[in-house]
Symmetry: C2
Subunit: 212 residues, 2 copies
DNA sequence: GCCTCAATTATACACTTGCATAATTGCAGA
DNA sequence: TCTGCAATTATGCAAGTGTATAATTGAGGC
């Protein structure tokens, strides 16, 4: 008579893992790491808490998987910007910089996510490795774009400039995400393009938005 | 006969509050917000958990007080750098930039602290106000240093350059703190000085360390 | 239709958390 | 020395945490 047991559908392993990871990321973005409890994650994923332990060895395991997924998505997004960019080096660099300084990259939720993971990144070696790899990958991408420009600088100097450009981008991204009301729409983009241009000794035009 | 009740000393209110705040900040810096439990904070402050509620209305109240104290300390540190700087505008700016890009400002613990508070800053209006005030204060300080330079730019352009310079500083600070092994000693300072110089169109010499 | 087994749910447990409240005690002033 | 009060400790509690384990059930193969 007690037919009150919850109905469910069986899903493929990949879909379930992804749903759980997405739920965890959303919760951390919204309410910080503390909000991403096993029960909250399960509820958002439309599932029962016990199932998490069927797909992940522990909550930490899920957390690591979520961080890895987040970083992969960000890498993919960055690469996608270059796919649909004009062929000339200056336009490509400008597109890359501008994309990082407007929504959806500039976004309080994404920054909350980033900050939420920061602590674990500092302490868990595996997550530290993921972070280092992602950061250096982004910087190498940027350095590659700079190398395609006709600049009379050697490799060491190019590395330093790439670090500096990466710094401006990160810093402006951070400030725009943490304090959205402090900047007019498009303002960060313009400031970032000018600053990167100044560091590299050239002018970066504001790229027109690509219509996909 | 049961003399096993803990001995204690009465302290002034100010000292106890400060000790509790310091303990909370240390714990957050070391182990993230999750490590700063009421019990852990009390233990580090050499006190019993119940006392926290005697000096603070709730744990959130203590957290807010800790954030306020942290921001005040950082403001004080920044101002102190300028106290002992050479009088000429270029040197002052260089000292300000360089100080932000070396220890103890560049430091994994400090960044962990910053990241740990980020989430609450986003959601608690009072903490958001503190954050905005501190950030804008820092930027205004920087803009003031720039205004003292002989540059042919108007106020709007000066504001944009200040935002950009602030961005480089923040971004490099972040990267140096998150990935200390990726940079040689002094490298961040040099990169930051060059970048700020490029943005402003001048050369910033590396300031000699002031011996207090 | 039935069987089988993995996917899923249900339940329980030990532990931690923030908080409330009562019991002590250090210490300043008479 | 004694007294009174606020600073401090001790104890307990309800809620929430991650996890282990047993009981169900959806769905594909025969």
């Amino acid at each position: 008579m007690t037919g009150d047991r919850r109905k469910f559908r069986r899903e493929g392993e990949e879909r379930r893992r992804e749903a759980l990871i997405t739920a965890a990321l959303e919760l951390i973005a919204e309410g910080g790491p503390a909000a991403a409890t096993v029960r909250a994650i399960a509820e958002r994923a439309g599932v029962t808490p016990g199932l998490i332990r069927h797909y992940f060895q522990s909550k930490d395991d899920l957390t690591r998987a979520a961080y890895r997924a987040l970083m992969q998505r960000m890498n993919t997004d960055n690469a996608a910007v270059l796919e649909s960019a004009p062929p000339d080096p200056v336009s490509r660099l400008a597109a890359f910089v501008a994309a990082a300084l407007r929504p959806p990259v500039v976004d309080p939720g994404r920054m909350g996510l980033w900050a939420g993971f920061m602590h674990q990144v500092r302490k868990t070696p595996e997550m530290a490795a993921i972070h280092a790899e992602t950061y250096l990958g982004y910087r190498d991408l940027l350095e590659g774009l700079i190398a395609a420009l006709p600049l009379p600088i050697d490799a060491a100097e190019r590395r330093r400039r790439a670090i500096a450009c990466n710094g401006v981008i990160d810093g402006l991204w951070l400030e725009g995400s943490a304090l959205p009301a402090a900047f007019a729409p498009g303002e960060l983009e313009r400031i970032g393009l000018d600053a990167v241009g100044a560091i590299l000794g050239l002018r970066l035009p504001s790229p027109q938005l690509s219509e996909t």
